[in-house]
Amino acid sequence: MLSVSGLTKTYGDVEAVRGIDFEVADGEVFGLVGPNGAGKTSTLKTLAGLLEPTSGEVVVNGYDAGDPEMRRTLGFLPEESPLYEDMTPRSYLRFFADLYDVDRETADERIAAALDRLDLDARDRPVGDFSKGMKRKVAIARSLVNDPDVLVYDEPASGLDPTTTNVVIEFTRDLAAQGKTIVFSAHDLHHVESVCDRVAIVSDGRIAAKGTLDEIRSAHGRVEYRAFTDVEVPGAERVEAERGDRARYRVRVDSMAAVDDVRERARAAGGDVVDIRTRESTLEDVFLAVTGGAE
């Protein structure tokens, strides 16, 4: 269980977080999305105990954020993968396992399991020789050496190639399936949609929308109707004809009443509506609508 209430964080005169509230239940996957500078990373770092809140309260598993006991139950993955390049994955992960008081045998088991699942074979080569994706895998494995109940991941798939991204996202799904509570942020909204149970859209230090994906869509999204006519009507755009068919025109409207209106105009011009299609808002649409397209 994780709860954030009235969280603010200021850096000098800059208010990065301006009163954020949310709760994440045990075993839930919660996504934070928002444009750059919205306050996501500050929020996640406060959850991890890295930053002290200016005001507000953050409680993780019954402990205040920053409490050393809380840190034992939490795994954090920062946006970058800063590793000690001269160390091998095995020595690096063992070092962190020691800091979490994990005995060597258990640590080795966890390290092997995580690296196997992440498909990282090079375990005794210096990390400095690794690609960005390999380093990311080591960083993810580090977040798991203490077998935490809560995982806080900041852009886990940021900057990775598609193959590695899939591995990371699949791995996150596995963790969710194991009952881990996960809070993570992502730029790629497709990943958020595919992994998260609930989402908060953060904009300008505040939560602009929050809930399940359906709840957010219904609250902030819309259904778009596309009426295709065989004659040109005002506001229509011409679309390519298919293999000798007559030219077709498309009108985007937001209700069936508007579609009827288009039909009347088409008939007045000697044609008709020949096709109607609908499209629900994606999270990206909602995101753009809520944040005003900021990025």
Binding site: E80, L99, R142
Partner: protein
């Protein structure tokens, strides 16, 4: 702090550094250590004396002067001959049993003076072997009465002012007062004139005139002291301090490495506390300093006191480097920081150590403890405390300040160096009481800075040195009382009200008054007895006297700290102006105290 985690981090830090040293560098380092280990004992045993054999004396093997010349480091024997001087082979030629031909030059005259003192020393050693001591060293007492009031400051033990070249303290003391008969060599200091001899061969050395110094001369500056040049001390100081530079370079890089690319972030999320991390990372370097110091101490014949004196210095090197590495934004800035640290701290340790055994000022340097230990001098607790306590406390304060900013939002931001320094000072200020405590914590730096000022200025004439020391002391103390108050306001730790500023000023002033009692450490070695030492540290002693004298410095510190705090609450410019006013007030007070109490 969790000892197990601290040791785990220390082991990791040591392993990381060992892993980053390639084979070639490792071999180079090993060779350097080996060379130092081999050279250090040689330096002690065979340290060349400046001017060794510089004066050439032409003297026959059978001549009574041959033995004194051969026994003196600064004299060298060259083949005899009356024309040796004329031909430029010698600076002095001994003719017969007491005639001298002296080159008509400064060097010739200096050679003759050296020959005189060498002969005296030789005579003294000869006489010391006599069974009848009273006959060998007849005591002559001249009593003269002088008015009191002439203050002789500095090295006042009878022997030191007389003759720096003598190895024999008893002999040097014995010649004072002209007890030795002036036999008058009659050497005319021309290139070719031969003077008259002084007795027969057997008694010739006794007839040599005394070259003893004037013990009544004031000895409060190196110019007055003409101390023996302690090359050995300098070389040893260098051997002890040099490895510390390598250690701090490595340590500074390691601390900065944690900050580059946020590498240290995962550590901060782990259950290890900030103290665990900082202490764990520092331990290997302190251990390395100890590991280097112990063999060096062993090699040069020093013991536990020497090692215990060097370790706080190593701690301060590391502490200042730690702070510098936290403030630096790049390796370039780190280089600037480490070079500055090296120069300032080496100067602090090195310069006073030059005057070990000569002047009380040497006691401020931990290296003077090393030198005394090597020479086998008795251990002096007072001197040891003065040399080590301020340095050790300053090291601890450096780490304390660094711990305050060893957190995510300070470690990984790219602020300018002064801004980070202010952050470090502001970090512990959560209440008015904390301001007073931080002022106390800054006192060791005040002591070090003031000792440094005294060490730098004691060579200057008192008329110049005293006003300069008074001014420097005022600046140092006023900055120490107010800079963190300004940092607190600048970092919005306190409300910018007059009432708050006054409360902070009072807290800081009282804190400083209590903290400056640390300056009484200087009494342990008599530094306040020096003219410049009295100017610097006399104020701290006032508080130890009567009630009136107790209140005066307390009032001064509270008033000046409040003035600075009132300025600090406004702006940087306001602080600068108020600080200048506080310094002037302080300077006026110091001047009054020094003028009144002498």
């Amino acid at each position: 702090m969790n000892p197990r985690r601290v040791l785990r981090i220390a082991r990791w830090e040591a392993g990381r550094n060992a892993g980053t040293v390639d084979r070639r560098t490792a071999i180079l380092l090993a060779c350097t250590v080996l060379v130092v280990a081999l050279v250090a004992p040689a330096l002690v045993l065979y340290a060349p004396t400046p001017g060794e054999g510089v004066y050439r004396v032409a003297v026959d093997d059978a001549n009574p002067y041959h033995a004194p010349v051969a026994a003196n480091d600064r004299l060298s024997v060259v083949p005899p001959g009356a024309d040796a001087v004329e031909r430029g082979r010698a600076d002095v030629a001994v003719v017969g049993t007491g005639g001298f031909v002296v080159a008509d030059s400064e060097k010739g005259r200096a050679a003759l003076a050296t020959l005189r003192s060498a002969t005296e020393a030789y005579n003294d050693r000869l006489m010391a072997t006599e069974r009848d001591v009273a006959a060998a060293f007849p005591v002559t007492v001249d009593v003269s009465y002088v008015e009191r009031g002439t203050r002789v400051v500095g090295g006042s033990d009878g022997g030191t002012a007389s003759d720096g070249t003598s190895d024999d303290g008893a002999g040097a003391g014995a010649d004072d007062g002209g007890a030795t008969t002036d036999g008058d060599t009659g050497a005319t200091e021309s290139g070719t004139t031969t003077g008259s001899g002084a007795g027969n061969g057997a008694s010739a050395p006794e007839a040599t005139p005394s070259a003893g110094g004037d013990a009544s001369a004031p000895a409060n500056t190196p110019g007055g002291l003409t101390p023996p040049f302690p090359l050995e001390s300098l070389l040893l100081a260098f051997v002890f301090v040099l490895p510390l530079n390598v250690v701090i370079q490595s340590y500074g890089s390691s601390v900065l490495d944690e900050r580059i690319d946020r590498r240290g972030e995962p550590l901060l999320v782990s259950p290890a506390t900030r103290a665990d991390i900082v202490v764990g990372k520092a331990l290997p370097y302190l251990a390395a300093a100890a590991l280097v110091t112990v063999p060096i101490a062993y090699a040069v014949g020093a013991g536990v006191p020497a090692v215990l004196a060097v370790l706080p210095l190593a701690g301060l090197f590391l502490g200042v480097t730690f702070l510098g590495a936290l403030f630096a934004r790049s390796y370039k800035e780190l280089t600037f920081v480490t070079v500055t640290v090296t120069v300032v701290l080496m100067a602090y340790a090195f310069v006073p150590a030059v005057f070990t055994e000569v002047h009380p000022i040497a006691a401020i340097s931990p290296l003077s403890v090393v030198v005394r230990d090597i020479r086998g001098d008795p251990f002096q607790l007072g001197g040891f405390l003065l040399a080590t306590v301020p340095v050790a406390t300053a090291a601890v304060v450096c780490y304390g300040l660094g711990l305050g900013v060893y957190r995510e939002e300070d470690l990984f931001t790219q602020k300018r160096l002064p801004a980070k320094a202010l952050d470090a000072l502001a970090a512990p200020l959560s209440s008015v009481r904390r301001v007073g405590l931080l002022t106390v914590a800054l006192v060791p730096f005040v002591l070090i800075a003031e000792l440094f000022a005294v060490a730098a200025l004691f060579v200057a004439p008192p008329d110049l040195a005293v006003p300069l020391v008074l001014a420097l002391v005022a600046v140092i103390e006023e900055v120490a009382k107010s800079v963190h108050v300004y940092a607190g306001f600048a970092n919005a730790r306190f409300e910018r009200s007059t009432r708050t500023a006054l409360a902070l000023g009072v807290a800081s002033g009282v804190g400083f008054f209590l903290g400056e009692k640390l300056l009484l450490l200087t009494r342990l070695v008599g530094l306040p007895d020096l003219t410049v030492g009295g100017a610097a540290f006399g104020n701290a002693e006032l508080g130890a006297g009567s009630l009136a004298l107790l209140v005066a410095p307390l009032l001064l510190h509270v008033v000046t700290a409040s003035v600075s705090a009132l300025g600090a609450r406004r702006s940087a410019r306001g602080y600068a102006l108020a600080l200048a006013g506080a310094v002037l007030l302080h300077l006026g007070y110091n001047y009054t105290v020094v003028s009144t109490l002498g």
